[in-house]
Amino acid sequence: MNAQEIINQLPYGKEFLFVDELLQVNEEFVKGTYTFSKDLNFYDSHFKNKPITPAVILTETMAQIGLVCLGIFLLKDQLNDKNLAFAMTSSALDFMQPVYPGEQVWVSSEKKYFRFNKLSCSVKMENVKGEIVSKGTISGMLLSQGHE
């Protein structure tokens, strides 16, 4: 399964898709990138007259690239099952740098374990200067019966 096929499998609509491109993916590791367009609607309100990407959106971006894209790659043989879904079950992240409108970020994620349908990864996000924006651990469960 190649990078574009993984992106095509993502369950997000365009307003909530935070993956532009996957640069590398294998059984242990994934790296991808996303550019936060200045037009994203939350910049009007976060914050008033001072747009900064919300940490919750950075978390979502790290989860979409680091956990869901890697999960789709790992589950490539089971993807015919329409009821497959991923649920984030925990995130423990530190945030070191702000991300402003228009910035590009790179997310890399290393698999810690994938056992009993739970995927846990060490994930980090870097900016164009190579500074670490955020790092930590994100985990999710594969749900084979849709929403619980």
Partner: protein, 87 residues
């Protein structure tokens, strides 16, 4: 390994994953991880991984599926250790 020793080890393993402190203190063979300790499926995976590490065993999918109570977990641990002491 005896049942009592396994229960004592399980108490330590489970503690970070349950807010049910009273149930945890009085943990017995009959305690159910989901009903009594309110542990979700994601944390149950972590408990099983911690059990593997603590007891030096490998737990397969079939055994994992059974491990919903303390009794079932003791049975899995004892059978993997090839040791039925305390039975």
């Amino acid at each position: 390994m005896t049942k009592e020793a396994i229960i004592a080890a399980l108490k330590t393993i489970i503690k970070p994953y349950s807010e049910e402190t009273i149930v945890l203190e009085t943990l017995s063979e009959n305690t159910d991880f989901i009903k009594d300790l309110k542990i979700n499926s994601a944390n149950l995976v972590d408990i099983v991984l911690d059990v593997e590490e603590k007891f030096g065993i490998e737990i397969d999918n079939d055994s994992m599926a059974k491990m919903l109570t303390v009794q079932a977990t003791i049975d899995v641990i004892q059978s993997k250790l090839g040791n039925n002491a305390g039975e």
